[in-house]
Subunit: 526 residues, 2 copies
Amino acid sequence: MEPTRRQLLTRIGVAAGSVAMYQAMTTLGHAAGTDFTGPPALAGARPGTTVLVLGAGLSGMLAAYELRRAGYSVRVLEFQNRSGGRNISLRGGDSLTELGGYTQKCEFSPGNYINPGPWRIPYHHRAILHYCKAFGVALEPFIEVNHNAYLHDPRSFGGKPQRYREYLGDFTGYTAELLAKAINQNKLDQPVTADEKAELLKAMRMWGLLDGNYSYKKGLEASLRRGYDKPPTAGINGAPTPSDLLARDEIMKSGLYQYLLFNMSDDVQTTMFQPVGGMDMIGKGFARQVGDLITHNIKVTNIHQDTSGVTVTYADQNHGGAVTQAKADYCVCTIPLPVLSQLDVQVSNEMKEAIDAVPYASSIKIGLEFKRRFWEEDEAIYGGITFTNLPISVMSYPSTGYFSKGPAVMLGGYMFGPAAYDFAGMTPQERVQEALKQGAQIHKQYPAEFSNGVGVAWSRMPWTLGCCSMWSEQARRAHYKTLVTMDGRIVLAGEHASYVGCWQEGALLSSLAAITQLHQRAVGAG
Amino acid sequence: MEPTRRQLLTRIGVAAGSVAMYQAMTTLGHAAGTDFTGPPALAGARPGTTVLVLGAGLSGMLAAYELRRAGYSVRVLEFQNRSGGRNISLRGGDSLTELGGYTQKCEFSPGNYINPGPWRIPYHHRAILHYCKAFGVALEPFIEVNHNAYLHDPRSFGGKPQRYREYLGDFTGYTAELLAKAINQNKLDQPVTADEKAELLKAMRMWGLLDGNYSYKKGLEASLRRGYDKPPTAGINGAPTPSDLLARDEIMKSGLYQYLLFNMSDDVQTTMFQPVGGMDMIGKGFARQVGDLITHNIKVTNIHQDTSGVTVTYADQNHGGAVTQAKADYCVCTIPLPVLSQLDVQVSNEMKEAIDAVPYASSIKIGLEFKRRFWEEDEAIYGGITFTNLPISVMSYPSTGYFSKGPAVMLGGYMFGPAAYDFAGMTPQERVQEALKQGAQIHKQYPAEFSNGVGVAWSRMPWTLGCCSMWSEQARRAHYKTLVTMDGRIVLAGEHASYVGCWQEGALLSSLAAITQLHQRAVGAG
């Protein structure tokens, strides 16, 4: 069937502005659930058949792993001096150099880290969960929803951050009240039987915690969901008192319900996971399997092919940039498209157009280390996300090390779209300062507790030149099939060659699809 | 203000039947948030002042801990041969004897456990979180909501369990559609400005993932929340296909929305916690602090007082049941009310009436060990809860050991109300068999994968005779103040002496309130 994602995204964008638009594009709009059922069975490979894999990110390393297991002779060439690609964590002592010349050094305390790239794994991303288990990568729950974190809009509620539970409670209560009253007065325009009417009324009364008149009002009922003014406790004066409600019109006008909606989306439903100790534990797990096949510091310039094989030309930075060639029967190319489109690649014109046709999102992640977990100690927020309509968009609290003393790192901003371009134009230090300034509107402890930070702009990473692929519906129709179909002896892989874009799962699934094609071609079945 | 919880509960009960009623009574209806801000400062205790604490559950042990810290001489008498009270975990080798003579032996594999009593800690239960941190009890996230677990009603959807995400998506979509259409046709009976009308329409369109005609329809939009038929993947045929919707009238009639509502309630909002290794790690943490003060195997029979002190008479099971007396200046009595009401206690008539006036809930927990984590391996369910309208009510998957091989224990049933009485009337083996029979309607793997199980009936535990206090509004009005007010030299503590009933937090807060009264009395300030 014809995908309608773009229309959907536009629709959501229309409803809630550009922040929602870009968030939806990067997560809601892409990927939810995969059909991985197990590693591919690649039987009958001809001994001695050689494969060059370009890129030692997850897709490249998985291709190398499964192809070697199937009997192929594999070699992996990687531009960076490390494996893992966008699967990366930054820790104290790490440094990061970006286009434009800035090098930032991470000064986090021992044990602390930030995941500038992927940071969470949905329960239905079966391929990455499978390989984590297979490669001994320990996972722990990643907390997405936190009812005690904040929803914030500088233009609503006097700029005061609202607790997620309070906004959720009142949004639910008011909408249930409106619907109950419309039902009760036979004002629905649809055929609803008397039985269903009665059931709908029951449902709305319960759902909205409404009173006998189907009204949503301040009271202990509403406080069961939104929380109390004075919570129930013990002792003679232990009875609770209810909390005040937010105003209905301000709830609607703020548009903050977009974040409740986001948190119900398939991509971030519970139970999510993260690797214990940092996302790069996954890359390290893959590298334990295929590290012996990888050559780092290789700058590919040409990828040529003829009837006898593939020839890759590269500058070998391990040997003073010496121009060198590698040959193989086949090539799995996982180089991100913004980089690949600048290389000399001998593929069909259609494939060249496809490579050029897919825009990449820019994105920014800011990691801030504070002297203590003030969000836990002062505000009872353990993991989860605060959403704000400020440019920083997303603030997230660590889903690990709860209750511990000493410095801790939180995500101080996660941006797509215009804000990402604004932040990419700053120096790393300016990014951190701006995230601090904005975040202080939500956490007043910021200035006193700040220790140090990093700000990663994916559009400035020389090895990827963007965060991830951002297919338009038009590009998908015109170019997807070409991009994922083997072109002679070359097949592409990576999140960009999937419908699970911007997720590690997409990288893995595309890798499996690519090597399956390659194998069928190599054994003469394709 | 006058509590209205009973009315609320009745209202929810009316809407959704007795299962919801009892669930609401035990959790929704009680406790949400506490006002603990730190341990009490009990300055100026007179050296040599003695206190007898009856019961070495959490409230008793906390009283002992804080009173000793304040300078009192404390002794704790405990009926059982262990400390912790209802804070308990069962592991392989443990045995449990109940009224009626049944002794069941737990046969779980090493490392596995079930928490028959408390099993989750809300983020806002500040007292228990404080003492866990203080006493070195490691906590990990307890997963409450799992969108891939099931909602099940044997009378709805042909008895087929529905994925939480599918039901949630469709309930949300349909109600947003109904409200949007009522709004769009100016059918609201309330004053809504043109501006708010526009905002409401935007909100409902986005909230319900509605189409341009404000209809909730099968499509990729709805699948963003409810999941796909064929999920997005990679390769040439990587595009997703949408899933079918449930029927609106069946959604409403099933009443399963009660469980979505439950999971939004303050008591079970994220982030919840559980101790690493079993709930009894908390009891053990407390016992590490005050174990030297506790004498086990003491059966109290009389609690008398006069102007000079308190005299407790008991049968000392460590010495053949010898009748013995202990004296002290004051007494903190944490004995559960169903037991206390049967003892000879010298308190005011009003206090006696209060002790007799509070009914206790019965409840059942069933722990089932299976040969493997089929819920993870076959169904991608990691932690969280399946709700069913069958008597077993609640099934829960372990929030620890994810992805591990070998046998694992899940909660096979958690019942209050009539079902709890039915199960209490069975032998432990029959409880397990009945839970297996019912649960097999949801997990077809049950018969093949079952290994062994335990079924705990709290009404048959001789040391508590019930699960926890279940105050009625009437009893609360008539007796609460008396129950929590020091009577001469005796003060009561325990979850029953709080507004946070049925939670460990209530036990701790009531303990702090009780010893604060005792201290004020002892220093002459009360």
